[in-house]
Symmetry: C2
Subunit: 697 residues, 2 copies
Amino acid sequence: MFIRQNQEAVNIQSMVYGNLGETSGTGVAFTRDAATGENYFYGEFLMNAQGEDVVAGTRTPLPISQLAEKDKRSYNGLLSIRQILEQHYRDMLDVEFTIQDGKLYMLQCRVGKRTAFASMKIAVDMVKEGLISPKEALMRVEPDQLNQLLRPIFDLNEKKKALDKKQFLAKGLNAGPGAACGKVVFNAEDAIEVAKKGEPVILVRIETSPEDIGGMNAAEGILTARGGMTSHAALVARQMGKVCVAGCGSLNIDYKARTISVEGKDLVVKEGDFISIDGSTGEVINGKIPTKPSEVIQVLLQKTLDEKDAPTYQIYKQIMKWADQFRRLNVRTNADQPDQSQNAVAFGAEGIGLCRTEHMFFGEGKIGPMREMILSDSVDERKKALAKILPFQRADFEGIFLAMDGRPVTIRTIDPPLHEFLPQDEAGQKEIAKQLNISLAKIKERIAALHEFNPMLGFRGCRLGIFYPEITEMQSRAIFEATVNVIKKGTKVLPEIMIPLVGHVKELKSQEEIVRKVASEVMEETGVKFDYLVGTMIEIPRGAITADQIAEVAEFFSFGTNDLTQTTLGVSRDDAGRFLPLYVQKEIYARDPFEAIDREGVGYLMKLAVEKGRETRKKIKLGICGEHGGEPSSVEFCHQLGLNYVSCSPFRVPIARLAAARAAITEELLTKQDKKGKKEKKEKKGKKDKKDKKKKK
Amino acid sequence: MFIRQNQEAVNIQSMVYGNLGETSGTGVAFTRDAATGENYFYGEFLMNAQGEDVVAGTRTPLPISQLAEKDKRSYNGLLSIRQILEQHYRDMLDVEFTIQDGKLYMLQCRVGKRTAFASMKIAVDMVKEGLISPKEALMRVEPDQLNQLLRPIFDLNEKKKALDKKQFLAKGLNAGPGAACGKVVFNAEDAIEVAKKGEPVILVRIETSPEDIGGMNAAEGILTARGGMTSHAALVARQMGKVCVAGCGSLNIDYKARTISVEGKDLVVKEGDFISIDGSTGEVINGKIPTKPSEVIQVLLQKTLDEKDAPTYQIYKQIMKWADQFRRLNVRTNADQPDQSQNAVAFGAEGIGLCRTEHMFFGEGKIGPMREMILSDSVDERKKALAKILPFQRADFEGIFLAMDGRPVTIRTIDPPLHEFLPQDEAGQKEIAKQLNISLAKIKERIAALHEFNPMLGFRGCRLGIFYPEITEMQSRAIFEATVNVIKKGTKVLPEIMIPLVGHVKELKSQEEIVRKVASEVMEETGVKFDYLVGTMIEIPRGAITADQIAEVAEFFSFGTNDLTQTTLGVSRDDAGRFLPLYVQKEIYARDPFEAIDREGVGYLMKLAVEKGRETRKKIKLGICGEHGGEPSSVEFCHQLGLNYVSCSPFRVPIARLAAARAAITEELLTKQDKKGKKEKKEKKGKKDKKDKKKKK
């Protein structure tokens, strides 16, 4: 008997005859459990039936184990066929069989569909069973499937119940995977207050801004009506490991009435009501749905579970161990708080690739002086205000350096436009006016002056540091004083200062001079020597185009592929929701370019920058810190470019590790094929040459 | 006697001795009038004095002509020296002399500084005199100097008087050269109304938008508080040939109170008060200053002056004639109205390189249906609304085609974000609500939905046509029906349909299919065949990077260097005022990249697109339609790239013609030098080889 699949054939030597007397039957089965991956034969059969009857579901089939009672020989036959098939195909299979007049026929056999979890378990088990190699196992696990092992999920039965009861509200973007359930609040302060009482909250905003950080941190999940996969809400949520549904356009969020209404539905959700959001699917559901925590999180982060009691964790650990053996790319993380940094290290991060410092201007003791600085009219006033922020930022950096324990930390100097630090509502403006003893009119005037038509292309990035060198000076001082303090505590520190939005080498040069001057000053003042690097983001096309010149100054490049995608494609990520989905649907772009790197466009500039950068500085350190750094196909591209590392949000670190390993394995396979191809070509040519020679003779 | 200049020496053979008796004198003179260029010896001298006395102005010197009376021989000596010097240096010179004890000494001789006007007159005269060649003449006229021949200017004495009386108000950007004076109005409607009464008006706006077109057209000049050299106000003003001072940040424009106040000044300018603006210097001056019209405009555009009574026009004509002989680049214009097109042709435009169509959605009968379309919920409703606009746009195109009389016309399909077509003020919104019988709430909701964080990178360009194919369809139909109608009138038409903001060939393909489908339909319906091209703007980096793919579909590329600069440098032109001046001051960029093409960054991508485009389609037509197309150094760069044409606003067409000629002449000179250099190298090598041979022997 032959079973054909993918033009391959397996000869099942031992054809087995069953004996069901007069009756016949038919069934379908998986060689292992497709839901859990457990290693047992799992399926159903019907007596006196055709295959369609099993699929149609009109009669209730029996579990396959009962076949053993009805026809032991056929059952045993199936079991041995199962083994032969798995040995041959070295995978879990989905088979169809029929028994006619006591004769067992195998009708079909395909690689079986399985849950993400099952695919990981089966891959790991099959290595143990000697069926496949670790490399093959890794190639069978899609990196994104790891999310299943990391994030809290809804109890699926409970979710189904809720959906059956029509509690579904809307669907947004699955911006931060996992499941969360909590009370609705509409602003950051409320989120913090309610969370303090121990109650879970979902922070619901039209869009979020850096002002909301505290509230986002306090919430179980974040829900926004606007913004895409790389909007502020989505970025920060992923970095924090928060569940997030973003850009849920059909929600009508009314801050004044403190309600959410839904387009086309009568229902109104009020402040304090429970909602559930599924950040893996984008679903927003009314009411409470219980969630289950992840074993990996319990073992690694919460440390509430022992490794040996955590079979799921063990699968995760095995996959990561193999991944680390094969990958060539380093994996860093985007983190700007000590707890995030610790989480990332637990997930295997080998450094910080992007420490955003803008959040270090918010919060108690910092935002006040920051606003004072922005509203100042003179360098002296600005320096005074910045001096107040210095000790706070120094402490922030110390915390991060300690958490990273000697691993390199790339710190980006201030990047966002200044208006993000001023309140946009009149109440907030009045409060500052009072605090700083400035007229409300002046504050309004300054805010109006800071208003920009296209803030993404406006007064931000290194432009701030060039206009206000005192900011770069303060930040450099905070970084280097923290470096010295942590070195004195006996911990190694490797700060890498990164200047954003550089398009011209002179921009970088002006900032580099400040950084190096402050570094020398701090070394002299403290008598402690330390190593550090100065580099830049490559995030606007001109930066990539002139990378050879920029590399004269930059000791490293880090690709900021979010902004590089925005500028190269001329697409604002915050506004793309209007047309990009249609573009993907019409296959203009195969995938959302903010999700997976657009290799033809953005990738071209990355390649150019890599080549030009290395032309000038052979050993220049190259990395990526855009959100793409945690997306498997983009990680593969970075591997192909020969970058040194990718950096992504803490919860994506394991995904990046696996993706990096798969990229290396794929490359190896392709090289082998290539060699084989060449060899065959050569042999063919050799034969031809011989022939030709003979002919000539 | 030797006079040295630039390491060259001229031997003045005939040394002349004057005889002033006991006394001596000293003087400075120009060999021609430095202000008017007239060919007569022009200068001053003082008796018994040193050179410094003449310069210091403590004593009143005498005109040089009086020297003839005092010492005929010295004067004649000077006259012949003047001739010798001009023959030798072949330029107008500034000389210093002294007469001591009857002996005439020439102290110094330099190329003389002169006004723009004088430089043109002198150049033209010297060709006639056989001193220099036409090519040399062109190399001595800076293209921007032509502005002086085209634009109305203030009577300089009257302007000085006004400044002496402290009427100076503020200084903005010299966005549209020339001088204008009129009554202050604060909105487009008032501008139209006051202008109808025959009174000159200056339209004063914080910033302008397409809604203001009618008012800008009616005004003598436009003054804005915000926006740069390529802001809407500046672009449109230049295209219309209006005087414009833009981005005058120290003005406080209060629409409600209808006043302008100035930072740091007590004065308040009210609606109806007269102000004068100098678009060549950026000055804003209180009160009336008389202006003088330009001869060239009177001859070419107003036709109120005969060519032979216009010596200035003759100079212009001569320069343009020579320029056209030498230039290789074609020069087109950016125009979207018949009168603009006619002006441009009078200035020598050889076609339209950019006909923006967005203004064709404004005005009587058009803006209503356009708003109806934007607010529609279904394709059918949108098609109905668009059908109402069709006859208007068809008539617009007919007017332009007739004005261009067979010259090619590149028409860009709709480009700006839709929110620009909806009123931002509540009064306007209420009016539409009434007109269209839609609730105000719905209109506000739609406007809120259309709000964008970065409209420059948002839902605009071809994205509109992809989302709403019915717009492209309507526009194509209007263009082709107009084509047929004009052909039937016996005039040739060459429409080139240009799709904006293309970053992916599939975007262009989707639009091209619509355009070609409509063209076939119109040909079939009317039985008239016509030629047309479909092409694209290259204005985002991805367009340049994938130009080889795009050229599979595009029959021409037109570089939109405004947007290409914004995206390549990551700089919003509307917001750049905050930091770009500092950048230029700090020499990060040598020149404002929105003024002169940034060759290293933007130029790299242009070069790439030219190469890739020609790789796919050898004869692809290449042009530029960004504002850079009228800026001399950018025109030179376009010449170097080998583009087919540049396109600029009508009043810059002569400048572009001259710049194109100078680029060709410069190239010729460099090639000659290069050849000479190679020849010399070869000869040197030859000699060396001979020597070596000898040595060997």
